[in-house]
């Protein structure tokens, strides 16, 4: 059901009202109905009625939202058959602190399922919707969310608990690695780290970008040109270098990065390292505690 192939479509739908929501969702809903796949609408009475009115003959399942715990949603949806579509706003209605955790849990737990999970958000929540969803459902179909930071499969820490972004550095080629180090070193200093621990954090960030880009450990292999970025996240607990490389499908396929010798090397120079491969590229995070 996800755009471009099987797998999870976890998308946010930002709608003004139930009628607007139905218009946005109908292409996905109709595709599921045509394939005899189940469709669940987990909305309040007004929202459920809008879908029922739009497709009166369809066998829609309409559980009441009160019955759904957002933090346990992933386990519940995992039991649905392949091709199912779920439209609801359980996460959007959850407390702000729980919301990103619940959404990231869905992205992680259902990653291998052929499901469409369409999360309904109000226009005033659009920033939260973008940050928590890999896809956005638009009048033109599903498009990747530019603000989404995927949780890492190797260590499912939701991005929202890694601290806010304080700097973003474009790394278009190997010559820009020096700028990556300089900018991250400045953030590390501002976060209160110094000495060997600060230098180690910078080395880990540098190696993380090389790993994200799939740069071979064979000396002489340079960073491939592309739209690679370093996102620096700082909290009271830690400073995080989040390196994102746009190498579709991951340089060597999902899961390969943690077996890369470079991953073993960079883990020696930080407190925690994670890798996440998806269809758009690879994200490597390295975390160094500041206490």
């Amino acid at each position: 059901m996800s755009p471009g192939g099987p797998g999870l479509l976890h998308a946010a739908v930002v709608a003004e009202d139930p009628e607007d929501l139905v218009r946005l969702c109908l292409p996905v809903l109709d595709a599921a109905l045509a394939a005899d796949a189940p469709v669940e609408i987990v909305l309040d009475r007004r929202g459920a009625r809008a879908f029922r009115d739009a497709r009166p003959e369809a066998a829609l399942t309409l559980p009441a939202p009160v019955d759904v715990d957002p933090l346990g949603l992933g386990h519940r949806l995992a039991d649905l058959p392949a091709g199912a579509v779920v439209i609801g706003r359980s996460c959007a209605d959850a407390p702000a602190a729980d919301r990103p955790v619940a959404e990231d849990a869905l992205t992680l737990l259902l990653a291998d399922r052929t499901l469409a999970v369409l999360c309904v958000y109000a226009p005033g929540q659009v920033e939260a919707a973008r940050a928590a969803h890999p896809w956005m459902l638009t009048p033109y179909g599903s498009v990747p969310s530019p603000d989404h930071r995927p949780p890492a499969t190797t260590s499912p820490v939701p991005a929202a608990v890694l601290g806010p972004s304080v700097d973003t550095v474009a790394v278009p080629d190997g010559a820009a690695l020096a700028a990556l180090r300089a900018r991250f070193a400045a953030a590390v200093r501002d976060a209160g780290l110094d000495g060997e621990r600060a230098e180690a954090a910078v080395l880990a960030a540098h190696e993380a970008m090389l790993l994200a880009c799939g740069v071979d450990l064979v000396p002489g292999t340079d960073l491939p040109p592309g739209e690679h970025t370093l996102d620096v996240r700082v909290s009271t607990e830690a400073v995080v270098a989040e390196c994102r490389a746009d190498v579709p499908g991951g340089p060597d396929g999902p899961g390969a990065a943690v077996h890369d010798p470079r991953f073993a090397h960079l883990t020696r120079f930080c407190d925690h390292a994670t890798v996440h491969d998806d269809r758009h590229g690879r994200t490597v995070r390295v975390l160094t505690g500041v206490r």
Partner: protein, 290 residues
Amino acid sequence: MTVDAGPARAHLLQVAESDHAQRVGTAAWLDRELAFGAKVFYKGWLGEDGRLEKHWIAGPQATVRTRRALETGQLEFMDFPRLIDVVGGTAEGLHRVQSEELHRALDEGWTSVAMTQESSRRPLVDADEVAVFAQQEGGYDELADRFPLHVLCQLTTAVENEVHVVHSLGIHHRDVVDVGWGARETCGRWRVSGDLDAHVAQRFGGALTGAMRRMREVAEQGTGASPDLHVDLAGVGFVDVACAQLMVLAARSAPPGQRLVLHEPPRLLRRLLDALERPGTIVLDEGGPA
């Protein structure tokens, strides 16, 4: 990039990744040599129409002093195709031309002479070509040892193949200014400065291999010198896994009896080398400068 700081360098390789960056560095070097009263010989590529006025040294990218020097004859330009004709395509021929130019300038009363040449765009397809290239560069060294001669070799990586780049760094390892790092041989040590990372690893590896090879050659000449390469890393701010691994590979591939001695390494280098299973032939000297 600029090379006009510090004392003049006898035979310097300037590495740049684009024509523009190369011109910026070369313009500074030219201006400095001309300002100090040197007669300068420039070997380069003219366009298809062969007109010097179209070359950058005759245009606004060069300094006023450089353009004036072209008019007065303090700066002489020779197109590469013509140079190849004159030297007959041999290292001996090139050495003869270099020597003639040097002596002509000194006879004319110039107190110092400078020579520079643009990236030659030679593919260096086999070991014989590499040997000829090394012989040509050795000719510059020989003249610079005996006469007041400064040489700037320009290497633009965008126009050369990988083999040329690596061998060029190996041959010129004694004095290199690259992007973000450099190296210079002084007082028996190979002094490296700047950041050594994956972006420059191939070039650093070429230079390191050249430096190791030269120490072996000197030792084999029966001078009694040790073949150990002493690398001063006091000026290095950063080394990544790729460049640390190059050090390990260089030490492992060295013949028995040759060691790589690293003086004042950056703080993390020991940890990096240990992670890469540092061989016993890499010696770390974390004490003060010699």
